[in-house]
């Protein structure tokens, strides 16, 4: 094993009881809309990032309120292929639990913003939403291009199908 000093993150991971940390307690404590620093780090492994509404940051203390915390959720789309039904479900989730907008990333994922902590578990688990095999990124997505060159076969070929089976077949990837 390497003798190098490990990044701070590694310590958090090791102590985290397989990436659980104090997430359960943190999620249950609704006196604050935020999670502890450590839990925030762990959450990144679940494709979720804590944020706060910068536009209104200034007045919050005066209102006797903490920052307006919320979470961004990234939803993996294997091979970048999504069905219209999935899109509509994500749209519904955006309206019901996020800020109503959907972003698409350069890594072919959906991104929802503004999910408050009390709704986090529900949204990550996709309870009540029918989206097939997609779920939040606990690891990076499997990317593919819609069209690619098949060098060997000298023509255009879609490799999306290959990636999907790749995604499904290998448990490490899913």
């Amino acid at each position: 094993m390497s003798e190098e000093k490990l990044a701070a993150n590694e310590g958090i991971k090791t102590r985290s009881n397989y990436l659980r940390g104090t997430l359960a307690e943190g999620l249950a404590d609704l006196s604050t809309g935020s999670l502890s620093e450590d839990d925030q780090q762990l959450l990144k492994f679940h494709g979720t990032y804590q944020q706060d509404d910068r536009d209104i940051r200034a007045g919050r203390r005066a209102n006797k309120l903490e920052k307006a915390f919320s979470f961004m959720i990234r939803i993996r789309v294997p091979g970048g292929v999504t069905t219209p039904h999935q899109w509509l479900e994500v749209d519904r989730m955006a309206d019901e639990f996020a800020n109503g907008t959907i972003k698409l990333t350069t890594r072919q994922a959906y991104q929802l913003h503004g999910v408050i902590k009390s709704n986090l578990k529900r949204t990550i688990n996709g309870d009540g939403y029918d989206c097939g095999v997609w779920r939040c990124e606990s690891e990076r997505d499997v990317l593919s291009q819609p069209i690619s060159f098949g060098v060997a076969c000298g023509g255009f070929k879609s490799v999306t199908g290959d990636f999907r089976s790749l995604d499904a077949a290998d448990p490490c990837l899913s």
Partner: protein, 589 residues
């Protein structure tokens, strides 16, 4: 400088004559007069009867007014030579009245013509069970609010029922509006005269009685309090407007305890005054005379003295006396009850004037329609220990669209729009004995206070923190949206950290597709809520009377049913018992 002390037993006119006479005498004359009087010649010395007349003053109070009047009655009765005893309807049963010779009843009416909560049981038994009150001389003073349909309903019912059960009504009932002093004084004077043995002669000395220990300032003389701070408690994207106000009580001599309320004497906004002047086709510079005899300019009277917004049956009745309108007559009739209800909804006096007096009114007529502007009560949101010489309020600004256009609450928007830091607001404290922290600091307390209902609980928690008590405390708070409507969030976080607050549960109704309210959170925690009650915990509810209080009450019964493994009736009995033991207290509006 008066010769006679405040407490001298003379009527105001007698006092005046006496003082003018005495000041005109020299020492020799006075000494002669003193001797003459003590010889008992030609003077009926009042109150010398050896047998004191017994008198029971029975009251049913919600926010403390009836109790305060009962107290005044007892004090005055003592001076008149009665042997008075004060009884709270919550502590006795109608059967107790059978042995009473002389009975004076002071009772208020709440909500939809209901008796005060503490008097509910007494009222229910009185109305349904027989009692023999044939030896009872009585009279009733009913308190109420003419802006409600069922004005003084409880007082009316009790008055009728006492007669039904054989009681002898010695003085007619009076039905008092929010401004009750005058009517009360007239009533109690008549009552004393009717019940005392010989013609008395000792007049009712009008003392400056104020609620609470205040000396100079009080209801009759509100304190000009400086607004120290005003802060919006909702975040920028909120749909609501709730303000935190900090007012100074320095120099007022007024004290309060957590659970008490502050009365704010507001002024009507300029647009309210203009609106009603416009509808009545008046200018505002007309001279008018108000009850009590002062002369004022109409616009000033409309701004400071009169209620120009709230439309009630009583206002419509007075309006009809002026205009004699068929539709109005029909609305006021028995057949028109439903239609009247519809008409009153969302309308102000200005709308009624527009509808029924399109040609306007005379200044005197307009003033005659309107009652005195009542002070508005707000549950105090601070502990005097945590904020000496200050009093804090949590007030939601009422703004809505009525039938005639944009409408708003008088006092809430007065504070929000017209009073700035440094300005003065007329206030006085209002005792609320029915809403108090438990005696012992070890007693666990459960507090359910969504929206502005959280106000007294801020006071409770601050108070306990200052006293350094160790008892557990649990707050259930709710509002619309977590990110913008979590009133006093930072303070609750601090209290949780310090231990002043042990537990906090929140319910935000608009953060998810289904509505989540405080009662749902209570039910989620039903086991622990029950445990706290079993440990002797006190359960407090503050806030909306119409739906929330009822839903929370229902949840409480369900919790007892489930966790106590008892029947519905037994659970209701358990909860009723909590009330009896004063462990279930409510401040709902």
């Amino acid at each position: 400088m008066s010769l006679l002390p405040e407490q001298s037993p003379f009527r105001p006119d007698q006092k005046k004559s006496l003082e003018s006479l005495l000041s005109s005498m020299d020492d020799g004359q006075r000494m002669w007069l003193g001797g003459f009087l003590s010889a008992g010649v030609g003077v009926q010395v009042s109150g010398a009867s050896t047998v004191k007349v017994p008198l029971t003053v029975l009251y049913g109070t919600e926010s403390g007014n009836s109790e305060a009047l009962a107290d005044r009655t007892v004090k005055a009765a003592k001076k008149r030579g009665f042997k008075p005893v004060m009884k709270n309807m919550s502590e006795c049963v109608p059967a107790d009245m059978e042995k009473v010779e002389n009975l004076l009843v002071v009772v208020s009416t709440w909500g939809d013509g209901d008796p005060p909560e503490s008097a509910e049981e007494f009222h229910q038994v009185l109305m349904s069970e027989k009692a023999d009150l044939s030896g009872v001389n009585y009279s009733v003073c009913a308190l109420g609010d003419t802006s409600y349909e069922q004005f003084c309903e409880t007082g009316k019912q009790i008055d009728a029922r006492l007669a039904e059960l054989g009681g002898k009504r010695v003085v007619d009932r009076v039905d008092c509006d929010v401004d009750y002093d005058e009517l009360y004084e007239g009533w109690v004077e008549k009552a004393f005269a009717a019940l005392e043995p010989q013609g008395g002669g000792v007049g009712f000395v009008d003392q400056v009685v104020s609620n609470g220990p205040s000396v100079e300032y009080g209801k009759k003389n509100p304190f000009p309090s400086e607004l120290l701070d005003k802060v919006l408690l909702n975040g920028e994207r909120s749909a609501k407007e709730t303000w935190h106000y900090e007012l100074s009580l320095e120099g007022s001599g007024m004290n309060y305890e957590p659970g008490d309320a502050l009365a704010v004497v507001a002024k009507n906004a300029p647009d309210m005054v203009e609106g009603i002047l416009g509808a009545a086709k008046l200018v505002g510079s007309e001279e008018v005379e108000l009850k009590g005899g002062h002369q004022k300019l109409l616009a000033d009277a409309l701004r400071e003295d009169l209620e120009v917004t709230s439309l009630s049956r009583s206002v419509l009745k007075k309006l009809n006396e002026v205009v004699g309108n068929d539709r109005l007559t029909r609305l006021l009739s028995d057949e028109g009850k439903e239609e009247l209800k519809d008409y009153l909804w969302g309308r102000w006096v200005v709308d009624a004037i527009g509808d029924f007096a399109p040609d306007g009114l005379e200044a005197g007529q307009l003033v005659g329609l309107l009652r005195k502007l009542p002070p508005r009560l707000y549950s105090i949101a601070s502990s005097p220990l945590a904020h000496p010489d200050e009093v804090h309020l949590t007030v939601a600004s009422v703004r809505y669209d009525g039938v005639g256009g944009a409408r708003k609450g008088v006092a809430s928007t007065y504070l929000a729009d017209l009073v700035n830091k440094g300005d003065e607001v007329s206030v006085f404290t209002h005792l609320n004995k029915g809403f108090r922290l438990p005696e012992s600091g070890d007693t666990p307390i459960l507090m359910v206070g969504p929206g502005t209902g959280v106000a007294p609980f801020r006071a409770f928690v601050e108070h306990r923190a200052e006293l350094g008590v160790s008892g557990d405390s649990w707050l259930f708070f709710g509002d619309q949206r977590y990110s913008y409507d979590f009133l006093y969030q930072l303070e609750w976080q601090d209290h949780l950290k310090s231990g002043a607050l042990s537990r906090l549960d929140v319910a935000f109704s608009r953060d998810q597709p289904e509505k989540v309210y405080v009662q749902h959170k209570m039910l989620e925690r039903s086991r622990e809520v029950y445990d706290w009650l079993e440990r002797g915990g006190y359960f407090y509810v503050c806030g909306d009377a119409s739906r929330m209080a009822h839903d929370v009450h229902e949840a409480l019964i369900q919790i007892v049913e489930k966790e106590g493994a008892v029947s519905r009736e037994e659970a209701e009995g358990y909860v009723a018992n909590l009330k009896k033991e004063k462990r279930y207290q409510r401040d709902v509006y």
